[in-house]
């Protein structure tokens, strides 16, 4: 029925989106004057050295051809070079990073836990805190609390992420020395250590992200609280906190959830600044590295990975609409 068709349609769209994005990545990459082979050419770089490097990395074909080789590789796997030194990348092969000497897939999968812990943890915090504060400042509209939280929110959006992270490290990590100053401990290895290493990055990230949630919740809340059905709820004797927390909030969530989808999707694809400042080996750090070292395969991999998450997040959010607000039918 309808739902099924919707889901199917979106999944197909997803594939198209990813394909287009891959193509775009290649296109954009080849707008760059720099030549990735140059980096694998050695120093001093002789013309024939360059030629061999190019051929070996498969950069000697036009980029469209390369892209289709890449796409084919996903299904068939790929082999670079020949003989004993040949590099094999089994299907599904999302490319091979010559600089990191690993398949892009293994690189990303190895980094995913870090980024996911970071993003999801922070997301939970900022969602709860952001929405919570938003509701509060809506109820206490115009009071000092309202003004202060708004100033806080604004500070959050306008503060440079890098500085906030840095200060957090210097103050809590180095001066007070109460939390680790950097790094990451796998959850599986040592849950406590994991939490310990995560807490600052989470808070920093949450602080930077919470603003829009606070503000959106507040403004929507002000609208909804005036609706007639709120009056009905009160007339039923529903406690005020339930009136706000259940009846009103549910009607506020639509845009909030939307932003959440976008933010979380984006962050799962790598929280570049936070990861780098806190020296966390996440996907974001991987991506930025790939950009600076012109590691096209890795770049492509990271881009597609991030895009995939964003698309899926948006898709789930769209699915959620129907559940959140029965009137918000999707077509």
């Amino acid at each position: 029925m309808r739902l099924a068709r919707f889901v199917l349609g979106r999944l197909l769209a997803t594939i198209v989106v990813l394909f287009v994005l891959g193509l775009a990545t290649y296109g954009v990459f080849y707008l760059l004057p720099s030549d990735p082979a140059q980096l694998s050419c050695g120093r001093p770089c002789t013309p024939q050295g360059l030629a061999t490097a190019r051929a070996f990395m498969g950069f000697n074909h036009p980029w469209v051809v390369q892209y289709f080789q890449f796409v084919a590789g996903i299904f068939t796997g790929r082999t670079f070079g020949t003989g004993v030194t040949a590099i094999h990348c089994a299907a599904p092969c999302f490319g091979y990073s010559f600089q990191q000497n690993q398949t892009v897939l293994s690189l990303i999968t190895s980094r995913v836990p870090v980024t996911f812990s970071l993003a999801i943890g922070a997301a939970i915090i900022w969602l709860l805190v952001g929405v919570g504060i938003g509701v509060l400042s809506a109820l206490k509209r115009g009071t000092a609390l309202d003004r202060i939280t708004m100033a806080g929110a604004v500070a959050g959006v306008s503060a440079p992420a890098y500085v906030v992270g840095l200060l957090a490290i210097i103050i809590f990590g180095l001066n007070l020395n109460i939390v680790p100053d950097n790094g990451y401990v796998p959850l599986t290895q040592n849950p406590v250590g994991w939490l310990w290493h995560m807490i600052t990055p989470w808070l920093v990230l949450a602080f930077l992200q919470a603003a829009i949630y606070t503000r959106l919740t507040r403004t929507q809340m002000l609208d909804v609280l005036n609706e007639d059905f709120i009056r009905t709820a009160r007339a039923k004797g529903v406690p005020e906190r339930a009136v706000v927390g259940r009846h009103a909030l549910r009607n506020v969530l639509l845009p909030v959830v939307t932003v959440f989808g976008i933010d979380l999707g984006a962050l799962l694809g790598g929280a570049i600044i936070t990861e780098t400042v806190f020296s966390m080996p996440g996907v974001g750090a991987l991506l930025i590295g790939a950009v600076h070292s012109l590691d096209l395969p890795l770049l492509l991999g990271c881009t597609l990975f991030a895009a995939f998450l964003i698309v899926i997040a948006n898709f789930l959010v769209d699915l959620l609409y129907g559940a959140l607000d029965p009137r918000a039918r999707l077509t």
Partner: protein
């Protein structure tokens, strides 16, 4: 009590005082906009912050205005139940009916949610909702006006309160259902000694249920007394005027013929289906050059994820000639509004065709379609939610004019004023926002909007349900004059058979998605062919306590 709206202060109610004893029904009647609703709401402190209330209110000794939040909360819904005037906007759109009814119980009594749900279903059943199992899972926008109204009533009586404030509890109900509801209230009163504050325009209902009556006018109580006194010898001019403008059915109908054979019975222009409940609709009576012709229209609401599909309208064929008024009456939830909405394309048709002056609306696109729609005026059933909350009343009325006429600036204003005046609203109202109006006022805005363009076809869905009889009389008067002037065709949906008798030349009776009977109004009302029609007519209350009591007995006997 006063409202401050951007500077201007509105006195909504002034020195109003009344009392309700346990087991007593006090009816508050009076002019639309006279402060009935706000006074009632002030009791539970439900007014917007813009309102300032002075005075005192006592609930069995405790002063309501002095209670703190928590105490007030415990009273709300537990000791005082409240039925809101406009059910469509009174329910939370994102929660299921079941959840909302169950909540009314659980906030005051710690019982397992499963039990609460079950209790909710019972309640919904007790207010005469067919198929409660479906209703509990439905969302508000999936229910009809009358169904919602019954849901609201169910919520109000959920905890068997000491005082029940019912603000226009039956406006959206057809008379049979209305009779059931009144029966329910009567039962609450006698069984549990519930005191009932009944706000209504329907003098029949007053006569049927009330012990004492308070008459309000321009924010003041002008008269009060026992129901017999008020109806017997009204003192005040306004009260007399009020009672004077009550319209009621002429005479009692003959019983329908029993067990006919065949599919249809015809008597002259009057046709009805055989069998109750019906399985088909009657055939359309022959048309010459109808403004609106609906042929074999079916509408099925495909259920959301779990719930089942609803056959709201089933193979209905009707037509309206220019200058003709087709009255559409019938059971609440029988598909009247759906039928109306399908005409203007708000609800997709499942089968059948709709022709406006010979043109099939379904095939029209873009500009052509819009101009076609421009020739249809629509008055929606719930005035509240059909007005843009952020547009001033004036702007709302002006909207169709902006769309389809070239009136601008001064002329536009003039026209808007004219329309406001036509529905006897002060021009000052133009600057107000919908939430600053009373139910009846909002409804009149809807009417003004509907007739703004002098439409070729007017679809009026319960246009007078929230109007007191005097205003109603004026509106109907206006309606007739326009009718004779512009000779527009009109689909007039109403529960008030008397009103139908007044305005409609022909009438169609709907039941469970079928048109079960159709024919010239006086014929149908006097000599109904279909049992449901008969029940409908016999259940209509009359505005005379004595008479109504006798009718009630008869009706009780009939339904057994």
């Amino acid at each position: 009590m006063t409202f401050s709206t951007e500077g201007a202060e509105t006195v909504a109610a002034d020195e109003v005082s009344y009392s309700v004893a346990a087991g007593e029904v006090l009816a508050v009647v009076g002019e639309s906009g006279s402060g009935k609703t706000v006074t009632a709401m002030s009791l539970l402190g439900l007014l917007p912050p813009t309102a300032t209330v002075t005075g005192a209110a006592f609930l069995s000794g405790t002063s309501l205005f002095e209670l703190d939040r928590e105490q007030l909360r415990q009273i709300r819904g537990e000791r005082v139940g409240f039925v809101f005037q406009e059910p469509m906007s009174a329910l939370n759109p994102v929660f299921t009916i079941g959840a909302q009814v169950a909540e009314a119980i659980t906030v005051h009594h710690k019982i397992p949610s499963a039990k609460a749900r079950q209790r909710a279903e019972e309640l919904l059943h007790s207010v005469g909702l067919p198929d409660p199992a479906r209703v509990v899972r439905a969302y508000p926008h999936e229910l009809s006006g009358g169904q919602l109204q019954r849901v609201v009533i169910a919520m109000a009586v959920a905890n068997e309160p000491a005082l029940l404030i019912a603000d226009e509890p039956t406006t959206a109900l057809d008379v049979t259902v209305q009779a059931d509801i009144l029966e329910l209230l009567r039962d609450l009163r006698s069984r549990l000694g519930v005191g009932i504050l009944l706000i209504t325009h329907d003098m029949g209902v007053v006569a049927d249920l009330a012990d004492r009556v308070v008459v309000m006018h321009e924010g003041k109580v002008v008269e009060h007394g026992t129901v017999t006194e008020i109806f017997g010898n009204p003192q005040q001019e306004y009260t007399r005027q009020l009672l004077g403008s009550v319209v009621s059915l002429a005479g009692t109908p003959t019983a329908p013929p029993v067990d006919e054979s065949g599919e249809l019975i015809e008597r002259g222009a009057q046709v009805a289906v055989v069998g109750h409940p019906a399985t088909r609709s009657v055939v359309d009576s022959p048309a010459t050059e109808p403004t609106l012709r609906i042929t074999d229209l079916s509408v099925v609401y495909v259920g959301r994820f779990r719930s089942i599909a609803v056959h709201a309208v089933d193979r209905v064929s009707v037509h309206i000639e220019p200058g003709e008024v087709l009255g559409l009456v019938g059971e609440s939830g029988s598909g009247k509004s759906t039928l109306a909405s399908t005409v203007v394309g708000l609800v997709p048709t499942t089968a059948g065709t709709i022709e406006l002056a010979g043109a099939n609306l379904a095939t029209l696109r873009g500009k052509a379609r819009r101009t076609a729609l421009g020739r249809i005026g629509m008055v929606f059933q719930d005035p509240g939610s059909s007005l843009n909350p952020r547009a001033t009343v004036g702007a709302s009325i002006a909207e169709p004019l902006l769309l389809h006429s070239d009136l601008r600036g001064g002329d536009l204003d003039a026209r808007v004023r004219e329309l406001l005046d036509a529905v006897s609203l002060p021009t000052a109202m133009a600057g107000r926002f919908p939430h600053e109006l009373s139910g009846g006022q909002r409804q009149r805005i809807g009417i003004a909007r509907g007739i703004a363009l002098n439409p070729a076809l007017l679809i009026a869905d319960e246009p007078t349900s929230a109007l007191d009889v005097s205003v109603q009389a004026r509106v109907l008067e206006l309606f007739r004059t326009l009718q004779t002037e512009l000779r527009f065709a009109c689909l007039f949906i109403s529960h008030d058979l008397a009103v139908i008798e007044e305005v409609a030349g022909r009438v169609a009776v709907m039941h469970r998605g079928h048109v079960v009977e159709q024919g010239p109004t006086e014929q149908v009302l006097a000599t109904p062919l279909h049992p449901y029609t008969h029940r409908l007519i016999t259940s209509a209350p009359v505005a005379d306590p004595e008479d109504q009591r006798r009718r009630r007995e008869a009706w009780r006997a009939a339904v057994g």
